[in-house]
Symmetry: none
Subunit: 455 residues, 2 copies
């Protein structure tokens, strides 16, 4: 990295840390209730991108929240990289488990704590800080486009349409994202495959109102008990999903990849300890934990509610109960086929006395990408230069639905230059981002985008 | 009934109808929010009881609301009857479904409409009207005690202590209540058994916080899925409770009683239609509906909650899920044994990766009383005399915990001289009480308590 770039990184650090705090103060929750902070957050980003020196900065409409787009062209002969991130965040609840207010960022012991710090605002601001440095120092060596969406946390339902409508504008040789963490502290990782995600909501309606459990107990089919039976039937005793056809199209992990994964450090008791558990007792019996996370499909309830949930007891049979379910898909499972398997399974198991409302909320296929394109090699070199270790090629248990859209619509490989750590608590209370990544991550961005990544 | 008693019933009718309106105007809700109308309502009752001519009238403290007590002794050789009722009412919500104001009683087409009209103020005032007539005419032939509590609608949590503290004061040969309706219009009923009630709360704790369902799906045991499996295991496919030992002590319904019950009118599609259902598909397969409601124990979830329950989706594995469960017991099931069976069942099924918090919240045994004591025969004769039909001996699916307390603490049989109809809308909007019961019910009280019930 040129000295001029390094000087800019240092001189602008305070300003960008202030910008990160401002960014994290937006309650840009895309999931529910008051979503009114999303658009102001997007507009705030456009102001910042213009100040950094992007030529073409605009909001792309069409999804539930506006997309922020920006581009900076240095040469028609240079490759074009699209940096993808998101400015929306998960809801902050349960609020009473936060040690600091989720939308009033606090810096404690080298971490910044706030909802969105590790997913994905910390990484986005780090990229913008790096971009500011290479643009200001005149060292930007590739054409850069930026796309920051506002509905990633709800599964990007409208983003496919936005990408489709803006295919030419978004055209790039590769799409890079930092929306994944290091494999472990000191182990940089480039994620080359991600699980897909389908989400569902199933409601069971019994009587037209809550009824007395003495008067009607033994007469009326209880929607909670019936829903519990349905949910229980979705897994067998070996932890496998029991929906017929669920595993039909699952691609087995190649032996070589399995061997690589088995070399990775995996301290089950430490990782489980981070979330208050002794070990990882979930998933399919007899399958390696990393394979269960990265390469096997799963089905989980994300929420359930029905009847009386206040203090003490209320002796009712409730009118209604509902459950939210998500499945994580792997290659080569087809989301449409999954929707259909799930719908058939549920609707064929609705008992007498219950009306079922089945909703497929969102769906995204699993993705996997190559590891040997020129841009990916350039990225890997920048990572090794800054962090002193070759990145490991890993998979991700999570899903970033837009990655499949990029592959399909603009024919671009997606790769990850990760920042953050697995214990950053994303989607959880006390989410955080280590400020070391705010510095070394910006170095990595400059090395990757600057005139010589190995300098 | 003597003419002097009948004349008093007629001459005091207007005054007692005014008293009923005054009684119904008290917003004596015991459940939540503003409970400030309960004590004035109890005090108002003491004034009325003194005016009627009771000797010893007082408030008994110790429960969440005061109990009204009164007694009138005619002879140490006469039997003593304790009349039990309650002056508290359910909350009136949903308010917008009332056609008349819930606390401004209106008389329309022979019914009085108000919260509490049918549960239990209408019946209580009818008893006081009858008592006034037999006392004023000098025809009271038994010693009478009155106990009107103020927390029945919240399950009488403090009443066992009040009864225990006042055992001598409350001593009686029988306890009579009207807190149940006729079986149907024209079908007077004496309820001789009620199901018991045990309530539980079971919480499953997985990870110490909500975690990402991609990162941890396949690794972590999901508390919702695990709880659903537990709940599902509580019933078999024939609708029977699958907890070992659950049915061990269940007393079978005698064939004669079963034959009587089968003669009762039971319009399943009309009754199910009242709550938006086509039929009663719940409970044990192959068992008569009335037996399922009255004489078989049940287990129902009353509420369940865990994870994300807002709009849309949130891809988490939640830290926690919990369920509220109630069992309805029949004779001779023991609540303590039930608690122990339930606890053993639950705790033996907690999977690895889950910590379980099991709480038994409350318990009350089923009660059943004989049908052939002298007092009950006297009551049945009074009912037949006034209503022209022998009362049917029925059971109730619900629970009135205080009845078990009377049996245990003052060794008294409880019996019901019911008034009101199943469609009076108790606990619902537009609750009502047919004024015919205000007249014929008072006749019944006079026949029962007067010098000769068959006169």
């Amino acid at each position: 990295m040129k000295n001029s770039t390094r000087e800019r990184l240092i001189s602008a650090r305070g300003k960008f840390l202030d910008e990160l705090v401002s960014f994290l103060k937006f309650e840009s929750i895309s999931a529910e209730g008051d979503k009114s902070a999303c658009r102001p957050c997007a507009q705030w980003l456009t102001v910042l991108l213009r100040r950094i020196g992007f030529d073409d900065v605009r909001l792309l409409e069409g999804a539930s929240q506006p997309c922020v787009y920006a581009s900076k062209t240095v040469s028609p002969d240079a490759p074009t990289v699209l940096f993808y991130g998101h400015y929306d965040v998960q809801p902050a609840d349960p609020l009473d488990e936060w040690k600091t207010p989720p939308f009033d960022p606090q810096i404690i012991d080298g971490y910044i704590y706030a909802r969105g710090a590790g997913d994905n605002k910390g990484q986005v601001l780090t990229w913008l800080r790096g971009l500011d440095a290479v643009i200001a120092s005149g060292e930007l060596a590739v054409n850069v486009k930026v796309l920051l969406e506002g509905e990633e946390e709800i599964g990007s339902p409208g983003m496919a349409a936005v990408v489709l409508a803006n295919r030419e504008l978004l055209r790039a040789d590769g799409v890079v994202s930092s929306d994944m963490p290091f494999y472990a502290d000191g182990v940089p990782a480039m994620t080359t495959s991600l699980r897909g995600l389908c989400t569902y909501e199933i409601a069971f309606q019994g009587p037209s109102m809550d009824v007395h459990s003495g008067r009607y107990g033994g007469l009326v089919v209880n929607p909670i008990n019936a829903l519990a039976k349905l949910v229980a039937s979705m897994h067998d005793d070996a932890g496998r999903v029991a929906i017929p056809g669920f595993y039909d199209d699952v691609r087995e992990v190649p032996q070589a990849q399995l061997a690589d994964w088995r070399k990775l450090p995996f301290d089950e008791s430490a990782l489980a300890g981070d979330i208050g558990l002794k070990n990882f007792a979930g998933g399919e019996v007899g399958v390696d934990p990393l394979v269960r996370e990265w390469a096997r499909p799963t089905l989980d309830c994300n929420g359930i509610v029905g009847g009386y949930t206040g203090k003490g007891s209320k002796t009712i049979i409730p009118a209604r109960a509902s459950v939210k379910i998500s499945t994580r898909l792997v290659a080569d499972q087809d989301p449409q086929k999954m929707d259909s398997l799930m719908r058939d399974f549920v609707l064929s198991r609705v008992p007498a006395g219950i009306r079922c409302d089945f909703k497929a909320l969102s769906s995204a296929a699993a993705v996997s990408f190559p590891t040997d394109t020129p841009l990916i090699k350039r990225a890997a070199a920048a990572i090794e230069k800054v962090f002193g270790e070759k990145p490991v090629f890993t998979s991700g248990g999570g899903s970033i639905p837009i990655t499949a859209t990029f592959a399909e619509q603009i024919n671009a490989n997606v790769f990850f230059m990760n920042m953050g750590l697995p214990d950053d608590g994303i989607h959880s209370p006390n989410e955080r981002f280590r400020l070391d990544f705010f510095d070394r991550g910006a170095d990595m961005v400059c090395c990757f985008l600057g005139s010589n990544p190995l300098e």
